[in-house]
């Protein structure tokens, strides 16, 4: 059946939002039984196009509400309010191994949401387009200030929430890929936490890897900032950054953390000697890495089995601040689950397990990111080792489970941070599901 174009009304509310804000996609004035496809299109900063789409059939109410009605097929199915974002994938014909990351947080991610007649799967440009709107997704809320840090050797950007403060502070660390990745820190500042994105793998001085004093310098910048509460500073790390976070939380005299969040990382690392030693340790075990049938590199076995030698693990039994571990059980890059189990055991033996909260998610992979970030099971990865190498890293995870994980973990991370940085602190596990 044909739909009169002037009738169809497409609206997305809000049309401008933060990346972790939900939106409602509503298509109105349809004829009952009308078949349509809702399509999302985004062109990322390096020029690649990403798309998602879903098939709907209007029922007797002549409305399709993505938050309430099931998708009958497409890049997601069932009732998925935000499926149009988290199921975004490179358009057919794109390069393999792509990953969607916003490097410039001062501009929004623009997504075009369109309604096409019929249940379409491809060739959208040639189809009958009924309606289209543009949605902006921002990592920075209005009033958030982006402050490049010029202190010393630091490669960092500080994001300050709007308002007078003082604000709690946070050091935000990513993993092996290096580069100054700002988006999570920008988003945390949009939630009231002054956050510093810190690049520690591409140091300004050539050759030497940074050591503890680098992080202590970053911490001091936060502590001494007039708008930051020096007594309420947290650290958050993903992947290798999680290991660094644990190391600093336990051993650094210069850092007094209010709490720590570790996403898909491990406590396994040589603790004597400089940070550089960790690289050596991994290189020694490199033959434990393997390739799957698609030639994607699985690194998780590098650190397995979890050593019993105490000099090879951060002694989390000595931890004195609350710790949140976010675990993707299908992490193919790091042995996150095994590490989390070992950490729990160590803390139970030491008597500080009341500080530990573990969020463990089935079928979630390594890259647990802010909500609605498109899922990537594997992507091209360039390490910062010398010499650098590029390979197709398998991150793991399954689309739907991983996307749910991102939403749930982020919400609980924000609650954990707020409880420990803003209000009264409740000792013990908040959301343990183990």
């Amino acid at each position: 059946m044909d739909m009169k174009q002037h009738c169809v009304k497409l609206s997305v509310q809000p049309s401008r939002g933060l990346v972790d804000e939900k939106f409602t996609v509503l298509v109105q004035n349809l004829l009952p039984g009308f078949q349509l496809t809702i399509h999302a299109l985004h062109q990322c900063e390096d020029g690649h196009s990403w798309e998602a789409f879903a098939h709907y059939t209007a029922n007797a109410t002549s409305i399709v509400n993505v938050s309430q009605d099931p998708s009958l097929g497409g890049t997601y199915s069932g009732v998925e309010p935000m499926g149009l974002l988290w199921s975004l994938r490179p358009v057919p014909g794109s390069k393999t191994g792509l990953r969607l990351r916003k490097m410039n947080v001062q501009t929004p991610m623009g997504v075009t949401i369109s309604v096409y007649q019929g249940h379409q799967k491809e060739g959208f440009l040639d189809q009958v387009l009924l309606a289209s709107v543009v949605v902006e997704r921002w990592y920075m809320a209005p009033g958030v200030r982006r402050v490049p840090i010029t202190e010393g050797r630091l490669t960092a950007t500080l994001f300050l929430p709007s308002g007078p403060g003082p604000f709690p502070g946070l050091l935000d660390l990513w993993g092996w890929g290096g580069k100054l990745v700002e988006y999570r820190a920008a988003l945390l500042a949009s939630h009231g936490i002054a956050s510093m994105a810190l690049d520690y793998l591409t140091p300004k001085e050539t050759g030497r890897m940074v050591d503890n004093d680098y992080f202590e310098t970053a911490y001091r910048v936060l502590e001494q900032h007039p708008q930051i509460l020096g007594s309420r500073i947290a650290m958050l790390g993903l992947s290798f950054g999680a290991g660094v976070t644990l190391r600093m939380a336990v051993y650094s005299k210069g850092l007094k953390l209010s709490c720590a969040v570790c996403i898909n990382g491990s406590h396994v690392q040589p603790i004597d000697g400089p940070l550089e030693q960790i690289m050596t340790y991994f290189n020694k075990n490199v033959e434990k890495t393997r390739f799957d049938e698609d030639n994607q590199l699985i690194c998780r076995d590098l650190m397995l089995p979890i050593p019993t030698d105490p000099s090879l693990k951060v002694d989390v039994g000595r931890l004195q601040c609350p710790l949140l571990l976010v675990v993707g059980e299908d992490d193919q890059n790091w042995p996150t689950y095994e590490s989390a189990m070992d950490m729990r055991e160590m803390m139970e033996r030491a008597g500080n397990s009341h500080l530990l909260t573990v969020l463990s998610y089935k079928n979630a992979g390594h890259l647990i990111q802010p909500p609605f970030t498109p899922f990537t099971r594997a992507s091209t990865f360039k390490s910062v080792t010398i010499p650098p190498f590029t390979m197709m890293a398998l991150w793991g995870g399954e689309l739907v489970a991983h996307s749910r994980t991102q939403e749930d973990a982020w919400r609980k991370t924000l609650v954990f941070l707020r409880e420990n940085l803003y209000g009264d602190m409740k000792p013990g596990a908040l959301f343990s599901n183990l």
């Binding site: 709107v133 949605v135 007078p164 940085l421 009264d424």
Partner: protein
Amino acid sequence: MIALGGKMIPCYTVQRNLACIQRTVGGVHWTSSCRPAPLLTASPVCALIDDKISIRGHFLPPRCPVTVCAQMQSDDGDLWEAFAHFNTNLDGTVNLTRDPSVGGSYLGCEPMGLLWGLQPAPGAREGLRLRKKKVETPYVMLMSLLKGHVSPSERPSTELAAVTAERWYMAPGVRRIEIRQKGVVGTLFLPPGPGPFPAMLDLWGMGGGLVEYRSALFASRGYASFSLAYIGHKDLPGPQNRINVGDPYFKSAFQLLQDHPQVYPDRIGIIGLSFGVYLTLRLANHSDIKPSCLICINGPAGSTIKLRDADDRTEQMENDQKYWTYDDQGNVSFRAVSLPANLSPESKVKLEHLTCPLMYIVGEDDLSASSIENANLIEETLSATGKSQLFTRLSYPGAGHLIEPPYTPNSRVSLWSVKPQKLATLWGGHLAPHAAAQEDSWKKILEFMETNLRH
């Protein structure tokens, strides 16, 4: 955990200790080196002007006086502000969607009161009216949470938290196109998408110039909309204080819309405010102009100005002055000018040709136009010709002349600059009822457009 005397102790213990100290010395513990500042949130933080927002304060002491204030700068650089006094809940929160204001710019539970309650800040210029000139940029609102029941001037010493929100007239993807074609002066706003779109012709009053914000908002809601200038614009012919265009001009504007490739030619409505009502009715009266619907807000069905059926200079508007009345502050009310008895009989629009629905919106406290009387006149005229089913009236007690998109402040009086001398004109409208009228009428306007332009 905090370090107290070199020893790490859980913070809740310290909190309890502090609480003991508090009981001894009294007073409410707001901020300290131990506990950081409370939080103020607004959601959505970037919204369209006609979107509601939810404003909340968190992590406050329970049952404590707080002030939430909003500050915004107009395009002209004037500062507008509003504030409301609350008492926090037992859980240490304040929520403007749930809690009543006990003092300030408004009283009672009004989720959007900080927006429609905005007033020029102390020390501002006189006679201001808030109107957005640049619709491509948002209003930036700084909202603050203050300690105690205070006024915004005490913000520097009492501020606990703040949040910045943006208020937009244009949704992402809306296109703004300046039109200077065939002598027609206006701005066209097109929604995002392939088109074609149903459309509105947007007419304002004798204040003149080119008022774009309502059109921008219509486009953000899926309608092409064309703001038309007809007086007081540099690109129009003749002296700026007179109407120098006639029927052909308005017909050209309507036809321009019809001919536009992204507009449905048979799905065009007309909206007019104030004198724009007369223009709307006059235009619709032409047998070859067939709008799908008409929306008339607080305006006359006739005129004391003789509009020509050719593009020509109109007669002086000073003739109106005999109908002006003044209050004891010297503010002028134009209300009597548009009393049906004072309108020239031949100017009264004969609505016999009307075939489309007409919605008339009345602010019962309109001090600038005789809206009630003109609504009656139109209703009677239509009834007499068996067309009463086309007429819908919305009537709002306490609302004034300037019924505009919602959540924007009303000016009961403002400086009027079109006339030769500087005058302050009375618009009417009391704060809360006028705000309610704007909210309700806007919703009904969009529903009316939906029914008549989309189906």
